[in-house]
Symmetry: D3
């Protein structure tokens, strides 16, 4: 089984970090192909970043028609609905995956993430998914996304400090790491905090494997039908759709 | 006052139709500048189309720092949060504008739109806005977006037929036209149906004028701060941000 | 275009203040007629006050069949549904208007108001409208409504103090002024706070102008049909309805 | 124990019908005092009717400081919050009472009422209370409120016909009678339909008795504090409040 | 009228305390029969305890086919849906009863309970009922359930301390006592706190009396039909159902 | 890895069917141990059945401290919170598992199940999980649970018939099979219907494998702490807890 894991941004160090999380999580029979988009921002810290990242993410879906499943490795699941339109293969976002895992491990859980400005974006993701009654804490650390890779030690210390507030004040019982760059920090934080901490990339890889094993495909009944072929300006040939997709 | 109205797609006939709606709605002192993105699909009928349209929409925000407000003329309000990050000027989406207007005119209202596959997208927009208890009907006609411009007469007949079901079965009291290409059809439909029908483009132009008159700007306190400058691959120079935006 | 702005209470100083807000906000072509009801309490600070105010507000609708739109200038929008029954002209409440404007300017916003006892009433208004996920802060100052007119300087200081807590603790990015008596304080507070502050009366005037320009009327399809004529005891002749309204 | 049951409208035949329901429901030790307001419309079939009825309903609260509890006998519970401000005695609305009773008898229930135009008003009441997931059917019959008293036989036939649709199509398991004028029809309808049918007036009398027996009073901690004394124009002396209420 | 009040646990001291609350609340014509299950845990402080308690609670329903109503005296209403399947008589849970009473007395109310770990269980009960917008405070004291009976004085002091925080911080206006073992503490706490405090057992007894007086029965239309007879292993003969129930 | 799959009922034919589904879904390295409780009903078709089943389900958790994860194989996830209290190993319910899978495959999905009376139970499960905006169809077939095993051919025909209505009328794009007895019917139904059909047992096995691979455990921070040891009457020694669990 081949799973393509698509980093949402174009920062090679984070692509490498994501790959390590995914490789560590994969089953023996699974091959992980981690990539980053050809276009898009170095990190996703705003809606602007997110929307500029999505075409490149979708191009990665188009470029690999033969893999068995896709993971979109950016908390917020940028472009996941469009990705599902482009393929019959399962597509899993790391935000949804981490939330499902949290739901199965704890009654009250939270999300801890990077930039303060992302607070609304995270809450919107939770609201959209339907988990406002289960996610009782969203906390931001002010850490720039890039530093999750370049300053690992400070990152984990700041996550721990904020997580302790989430436990003491918000009474969370598990935490989702709300950034793909935090992959691999879960074990260290679990030891420090004593509650489950979810590496969202790892969670998504396992759910993608599950969907492939179940031989399930993305429904083409209505919402996720292949997009109709039509003129599209300003994008590479790989983004042009044929009649019949 | 200058308002830039950005067609979400790259179909010149629709840009012209949107311009007519916007011109008809503007106040005497308002100058309307209607444009279409340099990149993106001919019509937005899928999530894929929507996400490929957004960078071009955002580029239009970047290209006109001196207008007084922006309207994003595609029901679904593609990229509206990112647009708000890029400017202090007010940005209004036609979906939200039409829903606010409907709320002020009727207790129970609906949305009528084009492609059947858009049902979930419309419902998601309503859920995200918070109006699931007021919007009691979402109906799709199967009309391709392009035909809203090229086959006006059939379009209005099919809208009428579906609208009659919304009135009789769902007891709607007003209808939002859920596609920018339906601009200008409101008067005809109102006469046929006897209930308010909202041209979403016109609604957004008026709300944008209102915000400018109120001298209100987009909050830069947290969520809509200017995006941080960072390397962005594969986009034109107009999309690169400076330090301090 | 004539817009009748109806102060919810019978306090002449507040009617004057509301008129100033409305005049400042109106378009050049708009004539503002600000009135106060013939009956009702001096200020609306309880449900009792609100319900005693409504008949007088509705009488003002009945008395002016020829204006183009109405604004109900009391946060809480007392009687707005009944007002819509009495006329085909658009009727706008200042609470809904301010919330729509806040939604277009900021992701997270709040309401700041007068009496502590009004907390539930404000939350009920937000819940009824559907914005519990966007309004992240409701703060009360303990200021009596009358003092918003008679003690302007202390009012603005106390609003500022409470608003600073809303920004620091609740991370609001814009604020609605939750009382018609606070009209005109928005500019001063914006300078002090650095976030958009919405004069709810001004917001409603602009939305009423927008609805008139759009040539939209209140739907008579079901909920807002004219009330049936019937014996009504204890009210003035102006409140008696004819057959056919 | 004395319970004052206040008909919401000024139609003596309905006051009599309400009294019969209340008398039939009361416990042996309870004295029922059924009244109708001195002012207000003959029937409540619109928001206009409702708001003109409320001052008279509230006057009835003021006029009887010595009874032990109040019932507001109009589905929609007009003015119930204000009534609670005016007294420490329990105040029960027939809408809330009937919904609580329905919740204890059936998993899925509905409301059946008079005028078609009341659909939104009923749904708003259910939404405000929090029972949108339990109330699975709201059906209107088109019966004028007055005819619930003057044309009992046709009323019950039309209610039965609509109720059968609610059972077959919406799978309701119990029904609230959504009008005070339908009191006493519950037994007949239960026999015809085979499911619990709730006389809302009777339900409210029993809950009011329960609150009195429990020696519970309306909280004066915040929302339902006595309204402040202030000038009130155009109302009788009984509506003027003293300092200290 | 006979009402069987079923303590959820098998702790005789609590059964006695519940009986005292129920006896104090009953009407003169009502006979209270308070029992405890033959099987189950000494106290209900976890989901495990709750689920082991339910078969014994249901057996008590089966054992008394001739009483007029049942009260399940454990906050959380364990097994209440199944109890309704087993009988046509009304079944009232103390959680729902206390919440309905709170809703009629106060705009904003809270629940105060025992074990910290019960926080989610209480919130789940409120969410399931539909009162998340009315219940603004859930506070746990850490008191073991058994001590509510064996250490009354400390219990009331700790409840008071936590309740004061609920009033000051969460602005609650009434409180539900979230444990059957707290019955009888309401009067003392009301005097200390100055807001209504609801003895949930007493509330349920009154609502059960109300339902019996109304001659209402549990709907057998769909959800609460008698369970089908079928082989059931490992339970006493009293739990085996006959054909036709 | 060992996963214990616990049939919710005591019907050996269904235990065998569940085992086949689980065996077919397991990864090569996984050992499946399928059991049925020692106590409980032959099928779960009512709340009564469900609550009598739970102690036996929980006993199965207690009896196998050394397996790596548990699956509770009854749609409705009976006792899942209590099961999580009894172990640090992951526990997965088939309802939640199937809904998460559906969410990843389709925008609009439904549940199709057996008894008509289960409608409310299924809706309650969806409401509790938070997916009311994604699950757009719940349909019941009237098939007794036992017949899902004994009358496979008719079962699949009736499921197909009802599923076709869900597709045509409710526009579902995927379906969860809402009964453990329907395991293995997914492939046949997918071929007939052309949309993804989810075998809930298979889905849960894959998610349990995922959680074990991720080395995640059930949080013991608050809600799912081990239950306190206390006297429990009427249960076998295996249900008695030690101090410290």
């Amino acid at each position: 089984m081949q799973i393509k894991v698509i980093n949402g941004n174009t920062f090679a160090a984070m692509t490498k970090g994501i790959d390590e999380s995914a490789q560590a999580a994969r089953s023996p029979m699974t091959e992980i192909i981690t990539t980053q988009p050809r276009s898009g921002p170095q990190s996703i810290e705003s809606y602007y970043d997110e929307y500029l990242a999505i075409p490149g993410i979708l191009e990665e879906i188009r470029l690999s028609p033969d893999v068995d499943a896709f993971v979109i490795a950016c908390w917020g699941d940028p472009g996941v609905e469009a990705a599902r339109e482009l393929t019959t293969k399962p597509v899993v976002g790391i935000a949804e995956a981490s939330m499902y895992v949290a739901n199965m491990l704890a009654a009250r859980w939270g999300v801890i993430t990077t930039q303060h400005r992302s607070l609304h974006m995270v809450l919107q993701t939770i609201h959209k998914t339907g988990f406002t009654h289960r996610c009782v804490s969203v906390r931001t650390t002010g850490i720039p996304v890039v530093e999750t890779e370049t300053a690992r030690s400070q990152t984990v210390d700041r996550l721990e400090a904020e997580a302790r507030k989430a436990i003491a004040t918000d009474r969370v019982e598990a935490l989702c790491l709300g950034c793909a760059g935090m992959g691999g920090l879960d074990k260290d934080l679990e030891q420090r905090l004593g509650i489950p901490v979810i590496d969202s990339v790892a969670a998504a890889v396992k759910l993608a494997e599950a969907l492939v094993s179940l031989q399930k495909y993305t429904s083409k009944a209505l919402t996720y039908q292949f997009p109709a072929a039509k003129p599209i300006l300003g994008y590479s040939p790989s983004m042009q759709l044929d009649q019949g997709a």
